[in-house]
Symmetry: C2
Subunit: 364 residues, 2 copies
C-alpha cells in the first residue's frame, strides 16, 4: 500500500524482503534478502535515496547500519524504542502519557514480585518481537504464574508484566510528522480486536470530545521527543475517560487503513510525503468510515463491491490461519448511513459478530 | 493507473508494450513486444484471464486475434469503430447523437466536393490513428485546400472533412457498462483544450441541467449497440444548448482522471471491475474537482501538494514537448472553495492561462 501510494508521486519503490511472496513485490521490484544480509543491504543502500519500513520488527541494528549510508526515516531510534515494551512504556510516561502499571520481569522471582505489586489479572508479555497478541500470556489469577512462566520464561529478551486494564474502549491515533516538524493527526480511530488481532475500526471514533486534542498533544510530544519523521500509530485505552498508552507502532498502521478512501490524504501517501521531505496532505476525514479486517482468508468480495462507497483490498497473500490477508473499507456521509452499510455487508458475509460492537458504538 | 486500481482488487496485471519505459511497467510486469508480434501475443494470451487496453490505437486486428484465444473487453469491434472517424460519426448518428457535418475524403477532388457542401471553416482529419489533435488540418478558407491536401493527402487510410463548429463548451461523458448490462455514467465533465490537447477538466461540469440525462441516454444507446464492456468516453460539443458527438474513446480517458479522488469509484477501478465481471462501484462525485494536465514537462509539485485536497500524478515519463507527463487533481466541497484552490495553484505555477476558463465557468 505504501508502494501504491508512492507511484503517483513519481516515486520508484524498491523493496527488500526475505519472503519471495512479500506483497509489495506485486507492485514494485523486490530484492530477495534477509534484513541482516549486509551485503544485500549495501547494494540496496546504493540504489535508493530514502529508506523506510512498514514492519516494526525490522532489526533496529540493520536500520542503524543503513542510516550510516543513506537517509532512513523514521530515525531507527524509534524502531528501537517500539521494539522494547519496557522502553516504550517508560517513554510514554516521560512524555506525559499514562500507562497501565508495568514492571520488568527477567526471572521467575521477578514475576512473583511484579504480581505482588501489580496484582491479577495482568498480562505477561515478551519485551520484544510481539505484535497482534503474539508473545502474550494472560494471567487471570496469581496461580497462573507457573503456566505463564512456562510459556514465555525462556524468552531471551526479557519480559514485562502489565496490569490488565478493563478499558471502556480502544482508540488509536495516527500521526505524521515531517522532517521540518510539521505535525498532523487524523481523526481518532476506534478499534476492536478479536484474539489480539484488529478486527474492525471506525473513524472518526464517535464522541471523543476533548480526547482528540489530548491525543494530538501526546502524539506530538512523543514525535518531537523522538525526532520522528513519517507516520506512526499510538494505541490507546480509554479508562474512566482518560487515555492510557498501550503501544506505539513506528509505521503505517492497520487501524489507519480506512484513510485510503476515508481521508483526504491516506496514511500511506503522507508517510511517503514525509520521508521524502514533501509537504503533508490534509488529514481530514471524508465523512465516516469503517474497516473490516480479513483474517485467515478472504470472504466473498461481492457484498463490499456492491455497497455504495465500499472498497476492497486483497493483499494477494496465501490464506493462513491468523494471517491478515486483506481488508474492506466502507464510507458514508454520516453515522446512520454508515451503520446501514456495515450491517448489510456483515449480514451478507455472516460477519454480524465482527460488526456488532461498531454498530453499537454508532447507535449511541 | 489501471494497474494501480487493479492491485487492491487482488488482480495481477501483465502489460504488453513495445516501449521499455511504458509507465505501467513501473507497477506491473512488462512484456516488451510489438502489438503485432503474434508469437508474443500467443504467450501473453496463455498467461492472462482477461485482456483490455488503455490506448485506442492498439491494432484492432491484434485485439480480434486475441479475442479468439482469451476474453477481451471491450469487444474489439468498439476499437475498430473508434479507430475510424467515419465509422464513428456514422454510428453516432445511427444512435441518435447529432454530429458536425462530415464527409469522407479519399481524393483531392473529394476534398473540393466536401468543402463545397460543408463550407469553411472546416477540419480535415485522418480517418485513422489520430488523437490529441494529431493528423488534423484546420481549413480556414477554401483556398487552404491545397495546403491541407499537401499535409494529409498521402494518408493511406483516407480522410474525413468535418464542419468546424463554434461550440459553446466541450463536455465529456465517462460511462461504464458491465458484461451483464449494468450501465452507469459519472457526472459530466467540462473540458478545455490547448493545441488540441486536453488542458483542464472540471467535474461535475457546471450547470448542465438536462444535458446529463441526455448524455446518459446517448451513451447507453451507444454502449448497448456495441455490446460494450468497460469504461469509455464520449467527447461532446454543446452548440445552441444541444449535444454534438465529436469522438468516442473506447478506454479510460484523460478527462476522467479526476475520478481517482473526485468520485466514489474511479474510472480505472470501474473499468477493472467491468472487464472482470465484478459489480460496479458508485460513480457519484465527491464534491467538485478540477484536473490540470501537465504537458511536456512537470511543473513544481509543491503548490499542488500544499493545496487542501490537492493530488499529484507523475507518470514517471521522460519530458518531451507535447507529451502528457502527469496531471494534478484538486477537489473541494463546493465550487467557490474549488475556484480558490485552482486559483492558488495556478498563480503559484504561473498557469493562470490554463486555469482561466475553468475559473470563469465556476464564477457563473
Amino acid at each position: 500500500m505504501l508502494a501504491l501510494a508512492a507511484a503517483p508521486l513519481g516515486v520508484n519503490t524498491l523493496v527488500v524482503d526475505s519472503a519471495a511472496d512479500a506483497c509489495a513485490g506485486q507492485v514494485a521490484p523486490l530484492r530477495l534478502a534477509d534484513w541482516t544480509d549486509y551485503a544485500a543491504l549495501e547494494k540496496f543502500a546504493a540504489e535508493v535515496d530514502v529508506v523506510t519500513f512498514d514492519f516494526e520488527n525490522v532489526p533496529a541494528e540493520s536500520a542503524h547500519w543503513l542510516a550510516e549510508r543513506v537517509a532512513v526515516f523514521p530515525d531507527p531510534r524509534a524502531l528501537a524504542v517500539a521494539q522494547d515494551r519496557l522502553a516504550e512504556k517508560t517513554l510514554f510516561r516521560e512524555c506525559g502519557l499514562q500507562t497501565p502499571a508495568f514492571q520488568a520481569v527477567d526471572t521467575r522471582e521477578d514475576l512473583d514480585r511484579a504480581l505482588a505489586t501489580i496484582g491479577a489479572p495482568a498480562i505477561l508479555k515478551t519485551r520484544r518481537l510481539g505484535y497482534d497478541g503474539k508473545g502474550q500470556f494472560r494471567i487471570k489469577q496469581r496461580s497462573d504464574a507457573d503456566a505463564a512462566w512456562a510459556a514465555l520464561g525462556a524468552n531471551a529478551h526479557g519480559l514485562i508484566l502489565e496490569a490488565f486494564v478493563p478499558f471502556e474502549r480502544e482508540l488509536s491515533v495516527l500521526a505524521v510528522r515531517t522532517r521540518d516538524g510539521d505535525f498532523r493527526i487524523w481523526p481518532l480511530t476506534q478499534n476492536w480486536h478479536t484474539d489480539g488481532v484488529l478486527s474492525l475500526s471506525l473513524a472518526p471514533a464517535p464522541e471523543v470530545g476533548a480526547l482528540q486534542s489530548r491525543a494530538e498533544a501526546l502524539a506530538r510530544t512523543l514525535a518531537e521527543h523522538l525526532g520522528y519523521v513519517g507516520v506512526f500509530a499510538l494505541e490507546l485505552f480509554v479508562k474512566d475517560g482518560a487515555l492510557l498508552g498501550n503501544e506505539m507502532a513506528p509505521r503505517v498502521h492497520n487501524s489507519g487503513h480506512w484513510t485510503i478512501e476515508g481521508a483526504v490524504t491516506s496514511q500511506f501517501e503522507n508517510h511517503v510525503r514525509a520521508v521524502l521531505g514533501l509537504p503533508l496532505g490534509s488529514t481530514a476525514a471524508r465523512g465516516c468510515s469503517a474497516m473490516f479486517n480479513w483474517i485467515g482468508e478472504l470472504p466473498d468480495a461481492a457484498p463490499v463491491l456492491n455497497a455504495v462507497d465500499g472498497h476492497w483490498h486483497d493483499y494477494g497473500k496465501q490464506s493462513r490461519p491468523g494471517r491478515k490477508v486483506g481488508h474492506a473499507t466502507v464510507c458514508a456521509n454520516d453515522a446512520k448511513a454508515l451503520a446501514t452499510r456495515i450491517d448489510t455487508i456483515a449480514k451478507a458475509l455472516q460477519r454480524d459478530e465482527q460488526a456488532a460492537p461498531a454498530l453499537r458504538a454508532l447507535a449511541k
